[in-house]
Symmetry: C2
């Protein structure tokens, strides 16, 4: 069992990784001193693949939500809370989330607000979930106006990573998760960038499970370091938003239908690299190092047909805006530069460049 | 300006009290080093009485929700969040709640989940709000299945009490708030009990504003002491639930239509006194001391027609239940006894006694 610790003001917690951990979830939780969860939540895709076995190993009842971003809304939270009340769940209990970012964000938020907060365990089954969504305590749901506009900082009691789950992840989702891997590597483990480029080229999905575990835990270590230092995103945690300002806007501008989150972040990383280059934060070589790692993940859904103005208006609604405009995170040779003001005009210019370069 | 400090793991905060504070809210906030709120939320009853002037003094836009418990639901939260997004509110800003417990619970919860948490200021205008709801960081909304089933611990940045607001509070609400005063006095300032009995008799509503301020701040001191020691209700904070187990059940069993919260708590205090007496926790004199203070507040909406089984089934759904049943807080001669298991049968018996005694 590989493990690392994440510090949190509410309660520090461990991330543990081991092939086969999902099928033995009950055992894994007991070994960590946790009670068996009474309710385990997953989605319609992950349930038959991994969550049914995980629930059986804990003696938990399995609740299944429809797979996809559309489930990440209040109606699903209210439905979950109702089922937990029906089952008589109380404050001393634990719930578990087995699935991707949608499941962990949603269940984490439901746990945060149910009876003013109950404990939960995250068992991410996607690459995005393992390297990003399940670590750091951010939970949330979407509003019609945008993604993650409602949420809470509510860290899980434990994160359980079973790298075998990546075997059943569609290649497209694996590549999308690769964008978060590239981002994380850029922030804190540059040695991973050539690994990603090499791995991605022949057969990204067919790596041995041990290699995946190594890759995932190295990313989780970077993320844990960042969020342990700054849980509530007062400062350095903002670095994790590298690639996310345009990423979120692309997702919103296409009604969350065209891009997987990681694919939108991949476009966001390419845009941020261009902006970093423009401002002299990034040398040509470093710009190429970052951009080529993103391109190695494979082709992305296109952006050529998107109206730049629509994308720009979504950028203007970014959660990280204040009275001075939207603060971007831009890559620099040494890491990232936080709080970079980018005017809407400049964002439009770079977006148009990207559209031309990609067409 | 009278003041006291409440300790909180997230951020300690002050409760300040002064006649006229609402009309000078902008000034009061500035003196406390806070920015002016961009959005001030109130309800349709309190807005013309106090909140319009408070908003004007801050240059805040005033959002008004329908008065009453029915507003304390997700639909209202979502509406508020949408309006905040429309106005471009961002993470660095402050919102203010001017009103009773419904307004502060609701706005506090909306602030807790908006963009994963923004700062808020509570300016309670009811007696319940001043002595209880606005202090301690509990925020929340109701589900159809019951009250406060969804929520967060999200303390305000400041609590501003203007005792003049009690002048416009209907006598029925003032008496209902008196039940929380009695509860609080029982927990930590018994010297208030004879004061309440004396005050209530001739003209509870016509007291000088200085007397109200003294009473309210003495209660707030007790509450602040309890929640500072145990913010998340791991232990001693549970004492504040004295009277609330039956209270919540009565509210739920009557669909929140018959009783004001404090009136239901008043019945709950009478039931808890009987249970405390039955178990020998409470001497006859102490039982009478507590019960007579409750009765001094005046007549309560009746319970004679309520089906005891319906009330009992709502008790069984109490948030403070665990596998061992519902844990009541019962009064003792020295204060309270926490975690008292009361079977549904015993609760039914005492409720039936109360029905007979009252009819």
């Amino acid at each position: 069992m590989q493990r690392l610790q994440v510090e949190s003001r509410l309660a520090s917690y461990q991330v543990v990784a081991e092939p086969g951990a999902l099928g033995r979830l009950g055992e894994v939780l007991a070994a960590e001193g946790l009670a068996a969860p009474r309710s385990l939540v997953s989605d319609t895709v992950v349930a038959p693949l991994w969550a049914q076995a995980a629930a059986a190993s804990c003696g938990a009842s399995l609740l299944t939500i429809p797979a996809g971003e559309a489930s990440k809304c209040w109606a699903t939270v209210e439905d979950l809370l109702g089922r937990w009340l029906e089952r008589g769940l109380h404050r001393g209990e634990l719930v578990a989330a087995v699935g991707g970012g949608v499941v962990s964000d949603l269940v984490g938020f439901a746990a945060a607000v149910f009876l003013r907060g109950i404990a939960w365990v995250a068992a991410p089954t996607t690459l995005v979930g393992m390297v990003d969504a399940a670590i750091g305590g951010k939970t949330g749901i979407n509003l019609e106006r945008g993604k993650n506009l409602v949420g809470a900082f509510w860290p899980p009691r434990l994160v359980v990573i079973d790298p075998q789950a990546l075997r059943t992840l569609p290649a497209r989702e694996l590549a999308a998760g690769g964008a978060e891997v590239v981002k994380t590597a850029w922030l804190g483990d540059r040695g991973l960038l050539p690994v990603i480029r090499d791995m991605a080229q022949p057969r990204f999905g067919a790596l041995p499970v041990e290699v995946w575990q190594e890759l995932v835990m190295r990313c989780a270590t970077v993320k844990a370091g960042v969020v342990s230092a700054d849980e509530r995103e007062a400062g350095p945690r903002a670095a994790l938003n590298l690639g996310h300002t345009l990423g979120h806007a692309l997702e919103a501008a296409t009604a969350y239908r065209r891009f997987l989150h990681g694919e939108a972040v991949a476009w966001g990383l390419l845009a941020a690299a261009r902006l970093g280059r423009r401002r002299g934060l990034l040398s040509p070589a470093a710009c190429e190092e970052l951009s080529s790692a993103v391109r190695a993940l494979g082709p992305l859904p296109g952006i050529a047909d998107l109206a730049a103005e629509a994308v720009a208006s979504h950028i203007g609604r970014d959660k990280k805006r204040d009275d001075g405009g939207v603060a971007w995170v831009l890559p620099s040779d040494g890491g990232v530069a936080l709080g970079q003001r980018v005017t809407i005009d400049e964002a439009l210019e770079v977006f148009t460049e990207l559209q031309k370069a990609a067409s």
